[in-house]
C-alpha cells in the first residue's frame, strides 16, 4: 500500500518534470536569435519578406507565444517532436531508431561499474592498507581527472591501432559481416567492449571509492560483530550480511548520476561512432539542427526521470526498513 501511494506521487512528479523540460525546450527555441522561418528560408536558398511571412503563417509562427507553446505540448503528447530538415525525417522516428543503442551502452557501462566497483571496494575495505586499496585510490583520482573523450581516444589508439584486437572503424557492427542473430550479437559485443569500458571508468572509480567507505563503515557496526561472534564464515559475513547495507549508497548514486552518464555517453559515442543518441546529437550539432537536438534533450531527460523512478523502487526492494515505511 505504501509502495503504491509513493509510486503514484513519484509518477505525478515525473510527469510535472517532463512538462517543465518541454517548456524549457520550447522557450529556448524562442529565446535564441533567429527564428525557424529564417532557417527554412536558408534551406531554400533565401526568401523575400512576403515569402517569410507566408512560411511563418504556414508553420503557425505568427501566433502568440502561449498558443504556440500549447500546440507544441499537444504535438509532443501525440509523439510528434517536430521535423528534422537535415535528416528529412520526423525527430521522434530518428530518436527511437537510436535510443536502443544508447541504452545498451549506458546500461552495460552502469552495470559493469556497479558490480566491479562494489567488488573492488569490498576487497579494498577488507584490507584498508593493502595493494587493492591503493589501487582504488589511484583509480578514483584517474577516473575523475581524465577527460572521458580522451580516455576513449587513447583506448582506441592502443587497442584498435597499436594492438588491433578491437575494430578501429567504430560503429555498432560490421555491415559486411554475416547477419544471422548469433554472429550479429557477437559482433555487437565485440564492438561494445571499448565504449563500455571507457564509459564505466569514471563511475567505476567513483563507486569503488564509495563502496570502500561504506563497507568500512558497515564492517565496524555491532550486528557484524554479532554475526562474527556466532561463528559465521567470514565470506558469509562480508558478502551476505554486510554487503546488503554497504551497497545502498552505491545504488542511490547510480540512480542520481544517470544524467551525467547520458552526458558521458554523448562524448564516448562521438569517439567510437556508436550509432546512438550521442552521435545523433553530435551530427545535429554540426548541422545546427535545433529540433533534433532539443528532441534528444527531451528524450534523455525522460530516460533520467525513469531511471530515478526505478532507483527509488530498487532502493525499497533492497532495504526493508524503507519498504515498510518505517523511515
Amino acid at each position: 500500500m505504501h509502495i503504491a501511494s509513493v509510486l503514484i506521487r513519484r509518477i505525478l512528479n515525473a510527469a510535472g518534470l517532463l512538462a517543465a523540460v518541454l517548456i524549457l525546450c520550447f522557450t529556448l527555441i524562442h529565446l535564441a536569435p533567429g527564428d525557424p522561418a529564417e532557417v527554412i528560408a536558408g534551406e531554400m536558398g533565401g526568401a523575400t519578406e512576403e515569402m517569410m511571412a507566408e512560411i511563418r503563417a504556414l508553420y503557425g509562427l505568427d501566433r502568440p507565444f502561449h498558443v504556440q507553446l500549447l500546440s507544441y505540448l499537444g504535438n509532443v503528447a501525440q509523439g510528434d517532436l517536430g521535423y528534422s530538415f537535415y535528416f528529412n525525417q520526423p525527430v521522434t522516428d530518428l530518436i527511437v531508431e537510436r535510443l536502443g543503442a544508447t541504452l545498451l551502452l549506458v546500461i552495460s557501462a552502469l552495470l559493469l561499474a556497479i558490480f566491479l566497483g562494489t567488488f573492488l571496494g569490498v576487497v579494498a575495505a577488507r584490507n584498508p592498507n593493502g595493494l587493492i586499496s591503493h589501487f582504488v585510490t589511484v583509480l578514483a583520482l584517474f577516473g575523475y581527472a581524465a577527460p572521458v573523450f580522451w580516455t576513449a581516444i587513447i583506448l582506441l589508439i592502443l587497442f584498435a591501432s597499436v594492438i588491433p584486437i578491437f575494430p578501429a572503424s567504430g560503429g555498432m557492427y560490421d555491415i559486411t559481416g554475416p547477419d544471422d542473430p548469433i554472429s550479429r550479437a557477437l559482433d555487437i559485443a565485440h564492438h561494445m567492449v571499448l565504449p563500455v569500458i571507457t564509459l564505466s571508468t569514471i563511475y567505476l572509480a567513483f563507486y569503488s571509492r564509495l563502496a570502500r567507505a561504506s563497507m568500512l563503515d558497515v564492517l565496524g557496526s555491532d550486528y557484524i560483530r554479532t554475526a562474527r561472534a556466532k561463528g559465521l564464515a567470514e565470506v558469509v559475513v562480508v558478502y551476505k550480511h554486510a554487503l546488503r547495507n554497504a551497497v545502498l549508497p552505491v545504488v542511490t548514486f547510480a540512480g542520481l548520476q544517470f544524467a551525467q552518464l547520458m552526458s558521458g555517453a554523448v562524448l564516448v559515442e562521438a569517439v567510437y561512432s556508436w550509432p546512438g543518441l550521442g552521435t545523433l546529437a553530435f551530427e545535429s550539432l554540426l548541422r545546427r539542427d535545433t529540433p533534433t537536438l532539443l528532441g534528444i534533450l527531451f528524450f534523455s531527460s525522460m530516460v533520467v526521470i525513469i531511471a530515478n523512478l526505478l532507483t527509488d523502487i530498487a532502493y525499497r526492494l533492497i532495504d526493508p526498513r524503507i519498504r515498510s515505511g518505517a523511515r
Binding site: 536569435p33 547520458m262 552526458s263 554523448v266 569517439v271 550539432l285 535545433t290 533520467v304
Partner: protein, 293 residues
C-alpha cells in the same frame, strides 16, 4: 617565569582556525603535489607564451610532424600548427573558462541554497523544484543546446557550464544553512534585530564557508573537463585556441597520429588532477573531524 610555566602557556595558546587549516594543508603531501603541479601549469601557460612566441594558429611545418623531429618539440597537428604554442596559449583560455565557470556555478549555487535553507517553507519548496528540474537534464546536452543557440564564445561557454552545474553546490549550501540557522549565535543575531540579509550573508555564510570552498575548488576541475568536452564536440570559439579545441580539431587524425590529441589530454588530466588533489587537501584541512573517520 619558569620554563614549565612557559611551556604550559604555549600549550594553552589557541591557534587561529585559518592558521590551523593552513598548517594541516601544507603537511598533506598530496595537496602539496597538487599545488606544485597547479602553480607550474599556471606559470607555463601565462609566462611561457611571452618567452616562446610562435603563433598557435600559424602553419609552421608539414602537418603531423612527429614530436622531436625537425626541431618541433611536441610535433605539429593536422594543419601543421606547432603543438607547443597551442598548449601554452590554449591553456590560458581553458583555465580562464574553468575559473569563470566555477565562479558562476558557485554563485548560483550559494544564492539558491542560501535562500532555500534560510527561508524554508514555500521558498525552499519552489527552489528545490527548480534544482530537481536541473538535475534531470543531462548537463552536457543542455550545455550543447545553450552554446549552439547563443553562438560559441568564451563567455557563453562559461555561462552554459555554470547554468548546468550549480545544483550540487546549491544542495550543499542548503544543508549547511538549515543546520546553522538553528544555532545559538544565529538566534543571538536575530534577537538584536539583525536583518535577514545580514544574517544570511554576514552571519551564516562565513560559517558555512569550509565545505563550500572545497566544492568551489572541485568545480574548477569539473568546469575544465566540461570546457574540454564542449570544445571536443566543436563548440568552441573559432578564434581562440584551447586544449579541448586542439583535441577536437585533431580528432579525425587520431589513427594517423597520436600526439596532437595525447598532449592536450595530458595537460587537461594534470590540471584536473592537481585541482582535485588541492580540493581533497582543503577538505582534510577544513573538516578535521571528517578526516579522522
Amino acid at each position: 617565569m619558569s620554563d614549565a610555566a612557559r611551556e604550559f602557556e604555549q600549550e594553552l595558546r589557541v591557534e587561529s582556525p585559518a592558521r590551523e587549516a593552513w598548517r594541516m594543508f601544507i603537511s598533506n603531501n598530496s595537496a602539496i603535489v597538487g599545488l606544485a603541479i597547479f602553480t607550474l601549469i599556471i606559470l607555463t601557460t601565462f609566462v611561457g607564451p611571452l618567452v616562446y612566441t610562435v603563433d598557435p594558429f600559424e602553419l609552421v611545418w608539414a602537418p603531423l610532424t612527429p614530436p622531436g623531429e625537425e626541431g618541433w618539440l611536441l610535433g605539429t597537428d593536422y594543419l601543421g600548427r606547432d603543438l607547443v604554442a597551442g598548449l601554452l596559449i590554449g591553456g590560458q583560455s581553458t583555465l580562464a573558462v574553468g575559473a569563470a565557470a566555477a565562479v558562476i556555478t558557485i554563485t548560483i549555487g550559494i544564492t539558491v541554497g542560501a535562500l532555500a535553507g534560510y527561508y524554508r517553507g514555500w521558498v525552499d519548496e519552489a527552489l528545490m523544484r527548480v534544482t530537481e528540474f536541473f538535475q534531470v537534464l543531462p548537463p552536457l546536452l543542455l550545455a550543447m543546446v545553450l552554446v549552439m543557440l547563443f553562438e560559441p564564445s568564451l563567455t557563453t561557454i562559461a555561462f552554459a557550464i555554470g547554468i548546468v552545474s550549480w545544483t550540487s553546490a546549491a544542495r550543499l549550501t542548503r544543508a549547511e544553512f538549515m543546520r546553522i540557522r538553528e544555532l545559538e549565535y544565529v538566534k543571538a543575531a536575530r534577537s538584536i534585530s539583525a536583518s535577514n540579509a545580514r544574517i544570511i550573508w554576514r552571519v551564516i555564510l562565513p560559517n558555512a564557508a569550509p565545505p563550500l570552498i572545497v566544492s568551489a575548488a572541485l568545480s574548477v576541475g569539473t568546469a575544465i573537463l566540461f570546457e574540454a568536452g564542449l570544445s571536443f564536440l566543436g563548440l568552441s570559439d573559432a578564434n581562440v585556441m584551447s586544449w579541448g579545441k586542439l583535441i577536437g580539431d585533431n580528432r579525425p587524425a587520431i589513427l594517423a597520429a597520436w600526439w596532437p590529441v595525447t598532449f592536450p589530454g595530458v595537460a587537461i588530466f594534470l590540471t584536473v588532477l592537481a585541482v582535485s588533489l588541492i580540493g581533497d587537501g582543503l577538505n582534510d584541512a577544513l573538516n578535521p573531524k571528517l578526516r579522522r573517520r
